[in-house]
Assembly symmetry: C6
Homo-oligomer: 268 residues x 6
């Protein structure tokens, strides 16, 4: 298969608001083609950051949402039966290694071990990918880089990366944007006014403070944007916030009461 | 495969009795093409509501009943062996994304993780669906929307949506219709008289009060409609209620006695 | 595949002795095409009843013995590889929905969840069966009805129908026939004399009283018929009863002694 | 596939020494085509008895050694890919039902549930076998009979036949042959002298008395025959008994000492 | 497939030092074509003994290393898709039965139950192997014999042979060779001097005495041979012994210290 | 498939700094074609050592990263469907055995048992590899050698090599390089100055002392090299060390504080 590089290039600059020196750090790692692990909670902008960097570096980006049913073949490729017999079909990791893309394995810890082990020879001095089932060893394109994401809040004894995998990556910590930047993101993405955005962010902070005290995760920036969008569509703020910020994340009556109260106070 | 859009359009208005502002809220979400999660107990009308909205919005509707044996390929598609080699067959989610349908994943929490993770890129700013096995990334049709249902009463530690999935949806809470509306539904659907309908609803409420005290779920509106239908077919109310309302939901002798007593009292 | 309707029609009236109003109740449910759940212990005549009703209603009957290895594809259908490529083969549920048969899923709780979920759209107002793998949605024939059986004595926390499945059925309770009727059944089926039949039924009752006190299930009517048949073949009653009634159901020495004693007393 | 009946016929009378009235009981059951369950410990002659009966009744015999990895398809049949597309291949149960053989499922409890459930319609008044994957329902040949074996000593909570399966069979209890008969079997099978056979049987009885006191099973008649054969080959009785009777069944030093002592005493 | 008998014949006499009367016992068993079970610890020469006997008896030998992922098909055979449709490929057990080889199933207890059950009809008076998937019953060649190995030290409640399998074999106990013979083996295999061999055997005995006191298994004869080979290659005895005898079998610091101390004392 | 030997040859000398006599020991083992097990923690240079030895011995090297989803077929080979029917494709182990390569199974303990058992006949006097599915027994090329790696820190009761596997290998213990050598490695690989390298190694030692006190593994030499590379790219040492040494290996706040403090002290 001749992979179509163009479809993996990001044409328009994805909106990304830098929080600290993460852009410089990532660029340095990319210059050394060092594998990078992005750590942080759900919906804080990890995927958006990787897209932004791929756009900035003008490299194609191939994203794979990992899951526990994914096999090494889903990454590397497989034989398909064709009119002329079997035909090899490169998987997304192999395509990325061939065309020199940034390969982004989202939530890699969800994948089975064979997925995580298959990346080992691509992440050390070898930079090779053995296609065992094809009897071929490919050398990664000089521009190829591997990036994985990882949500530390999720890990358990049963599901964690092996040390022999972790020790192949430099790592960047991510978190929700600071208040001022998060307001700007909401305004920019939805066209809502600064006051509404500020109130939404305040509700987000209320929820994030409840993390570990009844909530597994706080309210992500994405849900705040949803709230602003519903308000823009003409829904009353209180109803919009309940639908976008509270109902999706919890069924606990007490937590819901706490959050609904915060909403009613802010949008009195 | 050229999907036949017509077969997914709902020709006749599905009967739906609004309870609150759920129609407005859903419409606002659809205008923003925001993914929606419908929460509520068994048989309270979640699927009917989605059908009604698809009819109202004149969008094709593709419903998938999720289950624990369903794989990502069941949603996305797979290769089939053909006379001319392998042929790709779009799955229901892919068809929906291509033709701009509303895709309704019923009881999504039953599915394996790869099913729930596969919807991620369709539910954020990307609105794409990577067909990894085909080496193609498709962009969702502008009219495409994803809706999932979720029964909070069922969830356990073992089976729940991941936070990274939950935080991609705005959510609407559903419950059984209020007494007056539920009576109207029964009359409208079966042609029974208001008095019979009212008695059936009273039995339903008796059962719903037992939820958590020996019953896993109350009696759904659907079973009340069954009771009315059996009565309409000439079965004595007491026998009809036992067959339609009590025998299906419990084998516990005490609960059965309580419910049978309520039936005998109402249909004395 | 053009299903051969004739092979599913029951030509001769299956012997069935009504116990209460179950025939009327079933007929009313069938008139409304309401899904029906038949509950009761092993060998009390559930399958025979469904066959009798199919014969009485002149509808083809398609029976599927469910088991824990059965997949949704076993019910719905699958692609087969043919000389001209792949060919779709309807499963028994699909055939039943197409030709308007009564589809009887015996011991449905044994099946995996995907089997039980696949029947959902056939058991509500939609009466449709989506063949996801074929990209086709079929509407059930107006005469189609779904019937399932369920043995409450077997259910455990691990294996039970989901409430969202239970609440799609009206239910009929079955039990072993009353003494007089059970004697008639044995005489009618084997040509034995009334006295022998009566003694066999008495042994059956002894065993059924031991249910829960060392026996998982009582002796079914079927085993009583076996006993009568062996006697008819010239085997001495005591040996016939041991072989047909006791040895199959238990290896517990005490229970065997109790039952053997009852046999020796009756056939002294 | 046209099954070759001849290969399933037993040409020469298999040696079988009746212990009680089991031959009459089996014949009566066969006349009524009643399914039969043979119960008893390992190596007591269950399979030999079934072979003998098949020879006596002049019916072909198809034996299947069940195991936990066997699927319903292994019994019923499956599609095979051929030069002209797919071709159906009958499984052993289907062949038996078609040609009127006795089908003997050895240690049926080892099989998965789908194997045991698939025999249900063959074991009641229907005497049919639905080939769901082929869309065909076959009626059993009038001479067809189903026989299963079952070792009560093995059953546990995890692995037992379902009551709905047990209650489809008449049952015969088997045990090791009485001393005199067992001696005759050994002499007849190996040509050894009566004294040696008698000593071997005595060792067998010593071991059988240890069952439940350190031994899971006693020494089977088959192992006694092995001992006699080794002696016939010129091996000293003490060494032959150790190799054939003791070493295979236990690694426990105490039990070995007890049995070795019995051997040394008898073959002093 | 026409199996090439020659490739299974052992051309050169495999070195084997008899310990007791095991050669006579095995020959007697082979004359009666009796199935044999070889019991003993890792690396004590079980496989070598079977090879030696196959060479002595001039029979082809087919060895299968069993493992928990091996299926019955891996032993019996399977259909392969060919240019002309499906083609049956005999498995190693089937080949052995056809050509009259000794079939040696190494560590049979590791295999799944279907593997062990599949050998039953080959190990009693029938000496047949039903190829269920092919609809063929093959009779074993008169020279065919089945041999299995079994390490009693490994067995647990979870993994043991079923009694109905054990009682089909005569059994031979194996253990490490006595000191003098083990020295001869080492000298013969490596050409080392008797003194070095004697010291190596002493270290082996030290380790074997620690079995059950911190070591799962002692040092096998094979590892002693490795030590002698490394010394022959010019490595200092102390380093050779650490590399060949200690490092492979344990990571426990205390056990290592004990063994290293023994090495340093002997090779002072 | 004709394997292309050239692609497995290592052209340029891989940088390897000997720590003790490991090169001599390995060479002696290779001269005897003795299987070797390399033991040691993550990232201490095991794979690099094997590459170096393959280069030094001028042998092709075939590396396989083992994982728990790998089957024996992944190592040995499998049939593929081709235009002309099925075609056998050698797996990496088979290729290595044919061409006389060193086959390196990295982290072999991760593999399923069938993978580890399949190597047995290649690791004793037989030096053969039976391709059961192909009905072929291949004899290893005289230059073939098997090497496996093993991280003792990972093993648990659930996952360990069987003794019958361990006792087929001579073993070499590896650990992180001594301070002076590790500095040289960092300077050589990144071109950084000795002072920076020395500080990085000190941080590594701080972390390695925390192993077992909150850290599963220390910081590997690879991560120290990453730190030096980021510094070379212009990143401030403190930020580089946090990104390369601390963030990848732990999310524990206390451990991070300890390591960050060590970094700030050294790069004050």
């Amino acid at each position: 298969m001749t992979a179509d590089v163009a479809q993996y290039l990001i044409e328009n600059e994805p909106f990304y608001q830098a929080q600290e020196d993460e852009i410089d750090l990532y660029q340095a790692a990319y210059q050394a083609r060092m594998p990078v692990m992005i750590k942080g909670p759900t919906g804080c902008g990890k995927s958006r950051f990787v897209e932004h960097m791929a756009w900035k570096l003008k490299r194609p980006l191939i994203t794979v949402a990992c899951n526990e049913d994914m096999t090494a073949s889903d990454l590397v490729g497989r034989y398909l039966l064709d009119a002329d017999g079997t035909r090899w079909l490169d998987g997304p990791l192999t395509i990325a290694a061939r065309i020199g893309a940034i390969c982004y394995l989202d939530e890699v810890v969800e994948a089975r071990q064979d997925t995580t082990v298959v990346i080992h020879p691509l992440t050390d001095h070898r930079r090779t990918l053995p296609l065992d089932k094809k009897g071929e060893v490919i050398s990664a394109h000089p521009d190829f880089q591997l990036v994985i994401s990882y949500n530390p809040g999720y890990q358990s004894l049963m599901k964690d990366l092996k040390q022999s995998t972790k020790q192949r990556f430099a790592a960047l910590d991510f978190d929700y944007a600071p208040e001022k930047i998060e307001c700007e993101i909401i305004c920019k993405e939805t066209g809502t006014d600064a006051e509404t955005a500020s109130k939404l962010v305040k509700i987000g902070h209320t929820a994030r403070n409840l993390k570990g005290h009844g909530l597994d995760e706080g309210i992500s920036t994405r849900l705040l944007v949803y709230g602003a969008e519903l308000i823009k569509q003409g829904i009353k703020p209180r109803a919009a916030c309940r639908m976008a910020l509270v109902r999706p994340i919890t069924d606990d009556a007490d937590i819901r009461a706490t959050l609904d109260h915060a909403i009613d106070t802010l949008f009195a």
